[in-house]
Amino acid sequence: MDDLYRELILDRYKHPQKRGTLDPHDYSYEDDNPLCGDRIRIDVRMGADGRVADASFSGVGCAISQASADLLVESVVGKTLEEVKALSKDDVLEMLGIELGPVRLKCALLSLKVLKAGVYGVEEIEEELR
C-alpha cells in the first residue's frame, strides 16, 4: 500500500463521518487553496455548556485535504473554544499519521486554517501557521 494513502486516509476520503453543513451554526467559514483547487467549509455549533455540540465540513479537494478535514472536525466535538484555538499543525499531522512534503502540507492544513479562521479571526491564523 502506498504510504501516503494509508487506509485511514482513503477510508475517510471515501466514507467521511462529518461531511455536510450545519444549520443553525455559530461559526462558519470557507476558504480555498487556489493552487490546487481544494475548497473547504466548516460549520460549528456550540452547546449550552460552552463546548462544541457538533461540527461538519463540506467542499472539494484531494484525499489528504478532505480526510484531514473529516478527522479534524470530528476531533473538535466536545472541545471548548479555547481547546479548539489551541489545536496545532502537529495535532492535524498526528491525526493523519503521515509525513508530508511542503506542497501536500498545505492540503493537510487547509481545514485547520478554515476552522481557526471561523472561530478566531483570519489574520491571527496566518501569523500562527507561518
Partner: protein
C-alpha cells in the same frame, strides 16, 4: 528528410535519466513542459567554463575576460541563428521568458501605450503573458481583450479577426499552450495582427524547445523563450525583438553594461543588445544555453518535433482507453507533446502523488494557466509532458499506473 531519434543513444546523453527516485524505481520524467532535463554536454560546458575561463565579460582586458566574452557572445550568435534572427543584436538575454515579456510590457508598453489602448491576448495564455499586461493596464488605463478558446481547445480565429477590429496596439499570444498543448497558427495570426496595425509578441516558451521556430518566416516582432525548457540551464531566457523596434525602445533595467557614458546628471544608453542587459549576466548559463542550442541543432528540430508527434499520438490513444480519463485540448495533429487530463473521482494531486510512487514525475495543478482551467470548469489537471528522451514504454508505464490509481480510489 529527418533522421529519427535513436532513443537509446539520446537517453544516454542525460545522466539524470539513470537515477532511481527510490530503491528499484527508475525515474520516468514526464514534466518537461515545466523544465527539461539537461544533457551531459550542457552541464560540462558550464563546469568547464567555471574551471577554465571564469571572468566577468565585456570589460576586462585580461586573457580570461577575453575568453569569457568571446564564449558569451558566440553563444548569442548561435542562439540568434537557431531562431532565425537577422543579427545577434536582436537577442536580448533575460532571466527567463517571463522577464522577456515584462521587458516588452515595461519598455515598449511604457513608451507606447496610453489610456484606452487595447492589448489583445488569448484565454490560453500562461500567467506570464497575462499578469504583466494586467499590471500595465491598471497603471495606464489600458483595455485588455482575450481571444476565446473553443471547446476543442483551439483559438477561435473568427473571434480573433473580430477583436482585431478594436485596433489593438499589441497582440500577444502563445505559440503552444502549456496546458492544452495547442499549437497556434502564428504566421497567419501575425499577418492579420500586422494588417490591423498591431505589434506582435509571441510567447515561445513551449514552442521553441519542441519545433522549428524562425522569426523571419513567422513574421513576429517579439519572441520570448527560456533556456531551461530546451535542455539548457535555469536563469537565462531570451527576448528576440526586431532591431528597429528594440532601437526605438527605452532601456528596461538600469546599471552597468547598459550604458555608454554616465554623468551624475544623466546617462547615455548603450547600443543593442547591451542597452537591455544591465549588470553582470548569467555568463555560465548563457554558455550552457549555447551548448543546448548546438545539441538541438545537431539532432534537428524537425526530428524533435516528429518524435514528439509520435509520442503524443500514442499517449492520446492509450489515455483514451482508460475509463474516466478526460484529456483536454485538440487532436494530436494540432498539438505538441503535452497531455493534461482529469481522472473521474480523483484529485490531480492524488494522481500525481501515486504516480510518483512509481517513479513517474508529472505536474498536478493549474500549470500557471488558471483562466483556461476555469474556462473548462476544472480547478486543476494532471499534466504529462514529453521531450526528445521519452519513450512509448514510458507512456505504457503511465497508463499502467493510472489503472493502479483507479484501483486504489475505486
Amino acid at each position: 528528410m529527418t533522421n529519427p531519434i535513436d532513443l537509446e543513444r539520446m537517453r544516454a546523453e542525460f545522466p539524470i535519466l539513470e537515477r532511481e527516485t527510490r530503491p528499484g524505481v527508475r525515474l520516468i520524467y514526464l514534466d518537461s513542459a515545466a523544465t527539461s532535463q539537461k544533457p551531459r554536454r550542457v552541464i560540462e560546458a558550464m563546469s568547464s567554463y567555471y574551471e577554465q575561463n571564469n571572468a566577468n565579460i565585456h570589460r576586462g582586458v585580461h586573457r580570461l575576460a577575453e575568453e569569457s566574452t568571446a564564449a558569451f557572445e558566440d553563444a548569442r550568435r548561435r542562439i540568434a541563428g537557431f531562431v532565425g534572427a537577422a543579427t545577434p543584436r536582436e537577442i536580448i538575454f533575460t532571466r527567463n521568458a517571463t522577464e522577456a515579456i515584462n521587458l516588452v510590457s515595461h519598455s515598449w508598453g511604457g513608451a507606447n501605450l496610453n489610456p484606452g489602448d487595447v492589448v489583445l491576448l488569448t484565454e490560453m495564455e500562461h500567467h506570464s503573458n497575462i499578469v504583466p499586461w494586467q499590471m500595465l493596464a491598471a497603471e495606464r488605463g489600458l483595455r485588455l481583450e482575450f481571444v476565446p478558446v473553443t471547446d476543442a481547445g483551439t483559438l477561435d480565429l473568427g473571434a480573433f479577426r473580430d477583436l482585431l477590429g478594436h485596433s489593438p496596439r499589441l497582440v500577444g499570444f502563445t505559440q503552444m499552450s502549456n496546458m492544452l498543448g495547442t499549437i497556434n497558427p502564428v504566421r497567419e495570426m501575425a499577418q492579420l495582427a500586422h494588417q490591423a496595425g498591431a505589434v506582435v509578441l509571441v510567447d515561445g516558451a513551449q514552442s521553441v524547445p519542441h519545433m522549428p521556430v524562425n522569426v523571419a518566416e513567422l513574421g513576429v516582432d517579439f519572441l520570448a523563450f527560456s533556456a531551461h525548457k530546451m535542455c539548457g540551464p535555469t536563469g537565462v531566457g531570451v527576448l528576440y525583438g526586431r532591431e528597429a523596434l528594440l532601437d526605438s525602445m527605452p532601456p528596461f533595467l538600469g546599471g552597468g553594461d547598459m550604458i555608454k557614458r554616465v554623468r551624475l546628471g544623466e546617462f547615455k544608453a548603450n547600443d543593442l543588445p547591451y542597452k537591455f542587459e544591465a549588470g553582470t549576466p548569467a555568463i555560465a548559463e548563457v554558455i550552457g544555453f549555447g551548448a543546448a542550442v548546438d545539441f538541438l541543432s545537431e539532432i534537428g528540430m524537425p526530428a524533435v518535433q516528429a518524435h514528439e508527434q509520435e509520442i503524443i499520438g500514442y499517449t492520446l490513444e492509450r489515455l483514451a482507453e482508460v475509463p474516466g480519463v478526460r484529456v483536454y485540448g485538440p487532436e494530436a495533429a494540432q498539438r505538441g507533446g503535452v497531455a493534461s487530463f482529469t481522472l473521474d473521482g480523483t484529485h490531480p494531486h492524488d494522481v500525481a502523488q501515486l504516480l510518483d510512487d512509481r517513479g513517474i514525475a508529472v505536474r498536478a495543478g493549474h500549470h500557471c494557466a488558471m483562466p483556461i482551467h476555469e474556462k473548462f470548469g476544472i480547478p486543476a489537471t494532471t499534466r504529462a509532458s514529453f521531450y526528445l528522451y521519452n519513450t512509448p514504454t514510458e507512456v505504457d508505464r503511465l497508463v499502467d499506473a493510472l489503472y493502479h490509481v483507479k484501483e486504489i480510489f475505486s
